[in-house]
Subunit: 165 residues, 2 copies
Amino acid sequence: MEDEVDRLVAAWRRERPDLDVQPLQVLSRVSRLARHLDRARRAAFAEHGLEPWEFDVLTALRRAGHPYQLSPGQLLTQTLVTSGTMTNRIDRLAGKGLVQRLPDPDDRRGVLVRLTASGQLKADEALAGLLAHERELLAELTGGQQAELAGLLRQLVAPFDNIPG
Amino acid sequence: MEDEVDRLVAAWRRERPDLDVQPLQVLSRVSRLARHLDRARRAAFAEHGLEPWEFDVLTALRRAGHPYQLSPGQLLTQTLVTSGTMTNRIDRLAGKGLVQRLPDPDDRRGVLVRLTASGQLKADEALAGLLAHERELLAELTGGQQAELAGLLRQLVAPFDNIPG
DNA sequence: TTTGGCTGTCTTGATGTCAAGAGGCTTTAT
DNA sequence: ATAAAGCCTCTTGACATCAAGACAGCCAAA
């Protein structure tokens, strides 16, 4: 089956036959697939009344384990946004009753963001829904192929995750 | 080598041992790798004084072949942005002298966006630079592994590219 | 104890994007 | 010929994000 990247590569070979565009075969597909995944995730979360950024914050808290609380600083290192963005997000999640802000008993500058009961429920439901949708997307591949793909991707990602990038 | 997704999966297995989080092994790596690639691309383009979105528009025109012109409508289907965004982008690229707006001789509503000589030069330089950087990232893998990875990714992307998504 | 630097959160102002709609032009059907 | 419908680009207003800085509280060194 042909995809857009095949067409992209064909166009470059026609216009710039002097260039080796082989890298695009892998990396353009990664970028394009990620865009499609973003759209699919947005649709999956909409079923639970959540935006993607809400899912990111709620699941970071959920993964932290009981009592499901993290500081804004910890949240922003996990979600890779700036502090201003995180302030805004916590405001809105608190407005929806999914998290609450508590003073940090050990640091009076600090704040703790804690998942409410309904926030935890949303996070758990949305995660299950996401996994169901993603399983469908991956049905194109056998289990062995998925494992192989995961391994190859890990090799490409690991340098970014382990060297300060 | 371990990566962030391994840690993510481990956290979910601890908190939600009832769930099968296998899909994350592939799809979270795709999303995370795409984010890292965006940053790397931004850095590569900055060497040529270009933003990523400028590269996207200029290379779409470059790939169109002589005389390197497309309508705004064609550009927005290729770059997946809305018409308001494309108007804004064309304005700024025209301000930098990289493209020019011409009236469409066949449709008086229409406009043609054409690459200038300096725009074409920028596009060609930036593409070569991007490919050089991407080749380094892919040096983690053998040629055979790259081909295999490309093939697996194609299977996942193709449904999106061929069914209206 | 006091001083200086550092940390954690929030505020501010600018920017890029989107959704929705306006306006002019073209196409189709009557 | 004319009306209705559709298309193409641009404009407008709202919004999420970021970068930079403000401010309060912490901590280490003298």
